[in-house]
């Protein structure tokens, strides 16, 4: 066993059972999956991306490039590419290795490694060019795709929930190591709201591997926990640092009730970044074998988790901290075969201590190669030549089962850089450090370089490695020093080009350990310094973040609000078919037993034409326009004339954009001299109000006019049909029927409820729209139904509404119009106030393009065979063989009233082509001959609606 008998922060009284690749293992509470695997002697945990080389546990934290596993918590809860180093062990955890077949130990795809001399950086750009133009897509791409791609995506919907939270704090501290805890304590004492987050389950950071510090750590955390102004967020990663100290945090919760993660979006007065530093690996041949590990990670496994990851270790050291790791492992019972000191000499004090411990230190040494398959078994220690490369001819073998790499430290400046802070190269420390900040941010601890000491400069760490075989920089993507050198040779000089060409730093660890080394190799190849080569930009996320956390609760029915009108529940009870219209759900038809939608629509249409129909029009947008200048305001906005509209009268209004195209339409009624009731399309309610407010506030601020949205206040019930008045009359009080012609509006009572009653028609029949307070809608609807029963009242839906209006040639904005249609195109020039010198869009109507005689104009269309229904969207062509579109079908329906299909369309110079035959394209057959007719199929004189 490699688990130590004592020590570490694991709870040996709480064993936890888990499995990896089907084998059962045991760990303890406090373990990560990685520490538990190591405790069970498991080093081989994965395969690399490209060459499928064996991969072991490389680190002890989020920077892990190698130990990626699949965690399976059940259907929909399978998660790929999870870093074993950050997964807290829980009872029953099921983990599997990835990217191997048939097994982790024997992976056939590892044969790719044999061809690695061919498959260098960017090889795929240079080949797969044939045979044939589609060779890549047809032949080669499928092969490449199968080889790539690490883990498996989940296959079932994720049953768990994700939450969002907005938060504010005077101080956000990122990182709960010693610097972060100290900063949080200081801030909390000043009475500020403090949020302290850390990506790990336990607070303490580097202190968690320093047993002497544990009592004080516990006391500090207790103090923070006792302070009500302090919010402690463990397992929470600050992954995005945006403008104005807006930081996004991903918190892993995994609550028993199914809440998995929460995305915090936090605005902070000041941010303290205490994000620490990451240890640098070292490029040398064979540095990717399982058992090659960052030195400090090995130390943490011993001291924090009580695991001894190797019995006979060697260390390659370029920084003093490597000795602490080697000593810690020795203290825990490991033999130290050798310490290879890359520097010319080891620091005297450390050398003395090593000698005292009986450890052999080889100065100015590197590694010429390693041995081993699924785990390292030995290395070739070699003195370094003048160029820094190990001299293989003078190498001596050293047996070991664990090799530590201590390449020095890179401060974690990711978030500082995301916040557009400037990074400056500190040549003494050989690292980029936070410089001038753009945000209210402080860096504390190792991420600011505090407490760090220099080791061998990174360019020397990489010196000579560019010619070494299989010296990995990015062990997940299998990017070697040679790949980087090749890219430079091929002219990729910008570090961004090198990154993209080699994929260095683009693996799931986002280059946390590979970027600096890649930079050093490029610098070496170009003969420049690291800061001259520059740095790739740091972008969110700091670590990969669940899609689910971003989406939060906005899923399923909560993805977008489902808006329903007051009569919705009634319609549901009637078994209506619904359609989404924007966010609204609207009843599309009310099929009776045995009816399909077409049959229902035919029945509903005939009922309206012959008797009376009732329709929920509540979703129409409504705006109350009030004030002494209300009429003048409308005059300036809409194309129509409004000043002379009588009180109690209505007009069909048309609104353009400044570019002259139709934007919205609707009936406007004048309730009083200074009060209009304006309606908009369902989809246009918000945007019309926004546009009118814009003109009111910014273009015409001198007008005394106000706008109030009343869309949600009024429920609107349309009664349409020759019997509509008969249904309504018994229920209406306070209306002078004698003065209530078509296009009139009055305030009265309907079924005892205060109402605004419009006499308007979108069907061509005698029609009314009853506006009542929304809460009264169902009661009034029921009263109308009762009153209408003797008259054959029939509820109808949006589809019938569409057919009825098309039979009359009334346009629907968004169906007949598409943002490119002018009033004249739609045959609505008659609406434009003749005496008006200006309104929104008027100037655009006289641009040359708008005056072209061949503009597409609204026409009616009837199939010559009186039976073929053309497709909505079908193109109109002059002959069945023509390839030139002259317009398109905007609407097409089977009309029960007319007895054959009817359509509306936009046709070039259409109004002059009545009687012509035009052809409508058909996706599954020859084009349909259509007769061009006037766009009105029922009661062209409009006598019915005046009845």
């Amino acid at each position: 066993m490699t688990r130590l008998a004592s020590g570490g922060r694991i709870d040996r009284t709480r064993p936890l059972h888990f499995s990896f690749d089907g084998r059962a293992y045991t760990g303890y509470a406090g373990d990560t999956l990685a520490s538990a695997l190591l405790a069970n002697g498991v080093h081989l945990v994965g395969r690399s991306f490209k060459y499928h080389r064996p991969r072991g546990i490389f680190s002890a934290g989020v920077e892990e490039p190698n130990a990626l596993v699949e965690i399976d918590r059940g259907p929909g809860q399978r998660e790929p590419n999870v870093r074993a180093t950050v997964v807290p062990l829980v009872e029953g955890l099921v983990a599997r290795s990835q990217n191997r077949w048939p097994s982790l130990r024997f992976d056939l795809a590892a044969a790719a490694g044999l061809a690695s001399s061919v498959l260098g950086a960017g090889f795929y750009y240079k080949t797969f060019l044939g045979p044939g133009r589609d060779a890549w897509h047809k032949r080669w791409e499928p092969l490449i795709r199968r080889m790539a791609g690490l883990g498996r995506a989940p296959e079932a919907p994720d049953p768990e929930r994700y939450a969002n939270r907005y938060a504010h704090a005077e101080v956000l501290v990122v990182g709960a190591g010693p610097a972060g805890i100290a900063a949080a304590l200081r801030a909390a004492e000043s009475g500020a709201r403090v949020v302290l987050c850390d990506e790990q389950a336990e607070f303490g950071g580097s202190l968690l591997a320093e047993p002497d510090a544990w009592p004080q750590l516990a006391a500090d955390i207790a103090r923070l926990r006792a302070n009500p102004l302090v919010t402690l967020l463990p397992r929470t990663t600050a992954f995005s640092y945006g403008l104005q100290n807006f930081v996004a945090l991903a918190q892993v919760i995994e609550a028993a009730n199914g809440l998995r993660e929460r995305l915090w979006q936090l605005r902070a007065g000041r941010v303290v970044l205490a994000t620490g530093a990451l240890e640098r690996p070292i490029p040398f041949s064979g540095n990717d074998r399982p058992g090659v590990m960052l030195a400090d990670a090995a130390r943490q496994y011993v001291l924090r988790w009580g695991v001894l990851p190797g019995r006979n270790i060697a260390a390659l050291v370029a920084h003093d901290t490597g000795y602490a790791a080697a000593f810690a492992l020795q203290d825990a019972g490991a033999a130290v075969a050798a310490v290879l000191e890359m520097r010319a000499t080891a620091p005297a004090a450390l050398l003395t201590e090593a000698v005292r411990r009986g450890i052999r230190v080889l100065p100015n040494h590197g590694i010429a190669g390693t041995r081993g398959g699924h785990r390292i078994t030995g290395l070739l220690a070699a003195p370094r030549n003048g160029d820094g490369a190990p001299d293989a001819s003078r190498a001596t073998p050293v047996a070991c089962d664990l090799l530590l790499m201590a390449g020095g430290w890179t401060p974690s400046v990711h978030l500082f850089s995301q916040a557009r802070g400037r990074l400056v190269w500190d040549s003494a420390l050989d690292a980029f450090l936070p410089g001038k900040a753009r945000e209210a941010v402080t860096c504390a601890g190792a991420c600011a370089g505090e407490g760090l000491t220099p080791g061998l400069p990174v360019t020397l760490l990489a010196a000579g490695s560019a010619r070494a075989p299989k010296a990995f920089i990015d062990p997940q993507n299998d990017v070697t020093t040679r790949d980087i050198a090749l890219a430079v040779r091929e002219g990729f000089r910008s570090i961004e080009h090198v990154k993209r060409y080699t994929t260095n730093g683009m693996a799931t660890d986002q280059g946390k350990t590979s970027n600096m080394l890649g930079l050093a190799v490029v610098a070496g190849e170009l003969g420049r310094s690291v800061p001259e080569v520059g740095l790739t930009t740091f972008r969110a996320p700091y670590t990969p973040t669940s899609f689910g956390a971003f989406a939060g609760r906005h899923r399923g029915l909560l993805f977008d609000p489902v808006r329903t009108a007051p009569l919705h529940d009634w319609a549901v009870g009637q078994g209506a078919l619904f359609e989404p219209v924007g966010q609204w759900q609207r009843a599309r038809a009310f099929p009776q037993a045995g009816e399909d939608m077409l049959a229902a629509v035919a029945r509903e249409c005939l009922a309206v034409r012959n008797a009376v129909g009732i329709f929920d029009a509540s979703t129409l947008g409504k705006i109350e326009v009030t004030g002494p200048d209300a009429a003048l305001f409308l005059e300036r906005c809409y194309v129509n004339a409004w000043q002379k509209l009588g009180i109690g009268r209505c007009r069909y209004g048309l609104l353009l954009r400044e570019d002259g195209f139709i934007y919205d339409d609707g009936v406007v009624g004048r309730i009083a001299a200074d009060r209009f009731h304006l309606t908009t399309t369902t989809g246009g309610a918000a945007r019309v109000l926004h546009m009118l407010e814009d003109y009111r506030q910014t273009e015409f601020p001198e007008l005394q006019v106000w706008l109030t949205s009343t869309t949600e206040h009024w429920g609107v019930i349309a009664l349409q049909g020759p019997r509509a008045r008969d249904v309504l009359t018994p229920l209406v009080e306070g209306l002078d029927w004698a003065d209530f012609p078509h296009m009139a509006v009055a305030e009265c009572r309907v079924a005892g409820v205060p109402a605004r009653l419009f006499r308007v028609s979108f069907s061509g029949e005698l029609g009314f729209e009853v506006n009542v307070p929304a809460s009264q809608g169902p009661a009034v609807w029921q009263a109308l139904l009762r009153s209408g029963t003797p008259h054959g009242i029939t509820p109808y839906g949006t589809e019938t509404m569409h057919v009825l209006r098309a039979e009359k040639g009334f346009i629907i904005v968004g169906q007949e119009t598409d943002g490119t249609v002018t009033p004249d195109d739609a045959g609505l020039t008659w609406l434009i106030g003749k005496a008006k010198t200006d309104f929104i869009g008027k100037r655009s109507l006289v641009r040359p393009e708008m005056l072209r005689p061949d503009r597409r104009q609204l026409v009616g269309l009837v199939p010559r065979d009186r039976s073929t229904l053309p497709d909505e969207g079908a193109q109109l062509i002059a002959s069945a063989a023509s390839r030139v579109a002259e317009g398109h079908v905007t609407s097409a329906y089977r009309s029960a009233t007319v007895g054959h299909p009817i359509a509306l369309g936009l046709l070039a110079a259409g109004r002059a082509r009545l009687g012509e035959t035009i052809f409508a394209t058909n996706l599954s057959g020859p084009a349909t001959p259509m007769e061009v007719v006037a766009p009105c199929f029922v009661d062209p004189k409009g006598e019915r609606l005046r009845g």
Binding site: G242, H690, E699
Partner: protein, 93 residues
């Protein structure tokens, strides 16, 4: 997500606002007097500066007011927000 200072409501999250294009474009008093090029200049042609931009916002999910802002388009930082009709502030140096 930007934090925007509404001249009436103070600092609020960008979610409550709508950007409404370049500011200080005055609708011509007599559009009919403009030729097509001049009218197109009003409709479509914009400064689109890299640097300080004068722009309009509306606190659409707040007090509903339109206002103007001076914002740097390279850093997205606001120097000032101000009410319609007020003179534009000079950009910071």
């Amino acid at each position: 997500m930007l934090l925007i200072h509404c001249p009436w409501c103070g600092d609020r999250a960008e979610l409550e606002f709508r950007h409404c294009g370049e500011a200080h474009l005055v609708r011509p008093a007599d559009p009919a007097a403009l030729d097509d090029t001049q009218w197109a200049a009003y409709l479509a042609f914009r400064d689109n500066p890299r640097g300080w931009a004068r722009e309009r916002w509306r606190h659409v999910h707040g007090c509903g007011r339109f206002f103007n802002a001076l914002r740097h388009t390279l850093t997205d930082r606001f120097a000032a927000t101000y009410k319609p009709g007020e003179a534009w502030p000079e950009p910071p140096i």
